[in-house]
């Protein structure tokens, strides 16, 4: 019997679970899809499968002890979370880190941004079926891991920043490897673009899928590459600069329709712009020359070990910082940075104690994933997979 009008309207709805254990849901997400045939009638995301209680745990830890917890929020670009959090705490304290530390923070933020976009585009491609791009991109990500390991001692969760600056300065081997990375990464991006950008299969699967109008994107609370792909040129690095971003030369790619293809193009171009910033950072480090990477106030930053072992005063400062934490002023701040996914905000309420009274993380992908239903309604299941990949939902920051 042929499908006719009455057949379609009496269609039976089928409910399918996507997740929480599913290859395509990165991290652990659960989406309940109501389908009529292959068409999605309603998609209800069900989150919280990675809710670890980070905000409540933060109320029992000191400000410095919270830094490793921030690493594990957006685990693809851990360093940006560290930078965002310590900037918020430094805003609360009313201090600024030294110039060399600012340049290094920009450098590692941009490397982390490149890393995050590599994972996002790679995984988006794998879900749609383009496995090769993932392998090429992960080779570059291994070089970024080597750079992070050199800087901070750990590949993925580096906890590199401290309140008032950084953990330590970069070793001399860093610059040559970073220079090598700046040569090889554009070539890998070119290879990836040769595989994907003009590929008719890729265009078929991603063009027109998940489009969103600028006014809708703003109403949904979008920030970051998804908002820029929709046509709104909002980037905190240009709009409300921090860490000296206004002194670097870079451009912001802005899309038109907000569909997955535009998001992919925005992310690729952002990677190239980040490489530009990294090159400028390396030049600037040479100009600034050696210097302190953490603020010189022993009421905020730990004194160096040689002084702790030889001077009484430094020993007392060390003791006070570890046992009693930093003396925080009473007040509340909201510190926001442009993370790889959008605006990562930290809302910290301090009542003067060694732990924050309340700490809240504003994850960039939370409102973006909220709009999932509207984005996939009326489309087929395969498009749901593509849209999920394009949104770059990282469960660590979504659920905290």
């Amino acid at each position: 019997m042929e499908p006719n009008a009455t057949n379609r309207s009496e269609g039976e709805r089928m409910i399918i679970n996507m997740g929480p254990s599913h290859p395509v849901t990165h991290g652990t997400l659960h989406i309940v899809l109501e389908l009529e045939g292959e068409f999605i009638v309603k998609a209800t995301p069900n989150i919280g499968y990675l809710h670890r209680g980070v905000e409540k745990l933060g109320e029992n830890l000191t400000y410095q002890q919270f830094i490793p917890l921030t690493d594990r929020l957006n685990y693809c670009s851990s360093l940006m979370n560290n930078v965002g959090y310590t900037l918020a705490v430094e805003k609360l304290l009313g201090i600024q880190d030294p110039p060399r530390s600012q340049v290094l923070r920009v450098l590692c933020s941009e490397l982390a941004r490149i890393g995050d976009h590599l994972v996002c585009v790679g995984i988006n491609a794998v879900d749609i079926g383009a496995f090769t791009a993932f392998l090429y991109l992960f080779r570059e990500r291994e070089t970024i891991y080597d750079l992070f390991e050199m800087m901070a001692g750990q590949r993925l969760h580096s906890s590199f920043t401290r309140i008032g600056g950084l953990f330590r300065d970069i070793p001399p081997e860093f610059e040559p490897l970073c220079g090598q990375f700046l040569e090889s990464c554009p070539r890998t991006l070119d290879e990836m673009e040769r595989l994907l950008t003009h590929n008719p299969i890729w265009a078929d699967r991603t063009k027109g899928v998940g489009s969103i109008a600028p006014a809708d994107a703003v109403s949904w609370g979008y920030t970051g590459p998804c908002l820029r792909a929709a046509g709104v040129p909002q980037d905190l690095r240009k709009a409300q600069p921090y860490l000296g971003y206004e002194t670097y030369e870079f451009d912001i790619p802005v899309g038109t329709t907000g569909d997955i293809y535009d998001r992919y193009l925005v992310r690729t171009e952002e990677m190239r712009q980040s490489l530009r910033i990294v090159r400028q950072c390396l030049d600037r480090l040479r100009e600034i020359g050696p210097g302190p990477v953490i603020v010189d106030d022993y009421k905020i930053a730990l004194p160096p070990k040689e002084k702790v072992y030889t001077r009484m005063e430094s020993l007392i400062h060390h003791f006070k910082l570890i046992m009693h934490g930093i003396e925080m002023p009473v007040g509340e701040v909201y510190g926001a940075t442009e993370a790889a996914n959008g605006e990562l905000g930290f809302y910290i309420v301090s009542h003067g104690g060694k732990s924050p009274y309340r700490i809240h993380v504003r994850p960039p992908c939370f409102p973006i994933f909220n709009s999932f239903d509207e984005q996939v309604r009326g489309r087929i299941i395969a498009d749901a997979v593509a849209v999920l990949g394009g949104m770059n939902v990282i469960a660590g920051e979504l659920d905290r």
Binding site: G53, N60, S219, G221, T223, E332, Y334
Partner: protein, 165 residues
Amino acid sequence: MVIERIEAQLPGAVLDRHDFRGDATAVVAGPRFLEVVDFVFQEGFQLLLDVTAVDLETREPRFDVVYHLLNLASQERLRIKVPVAEGTAQPSLTGRFKSADWAEREVFDLFGIPFAGHPGLTRLLMWEDFPGHPLRKDFPLDGGDLFCSQDIGASFAPDARSLNI
């Protein structure tokens, strides 16, 4: 500054204000809240970044519901705080900002503050029949799980699995 304009347009709505570290903050009385939001929406604050809450257990009213807004045209930020007593419902902003949907559900889940007019106010991060609201100050960090906070339970050595050889 936007808070001055709010005070000029809606006198008596702003109970308190401060500018700590450059963050413009206005404490708004519950009944005038929707008027203030309408006014700032017209002023250009059309991106609702976040809705969250703070539990001040000894103060009456107990909670502060905190809204962060961003004006894309002028790049100004605004924080609106509304003191809410325990059990009182706060009006939902889902009619005006779509991003309020999950943000308010999260506040309901973790603090127990209901939002009147929300299309589907259910728990978001915890499971449906989870007892209690975790981020309240009287909820213990370990959730009552002795194994979590104390070192009890067998160590792994005597419990190592036999290999059936």
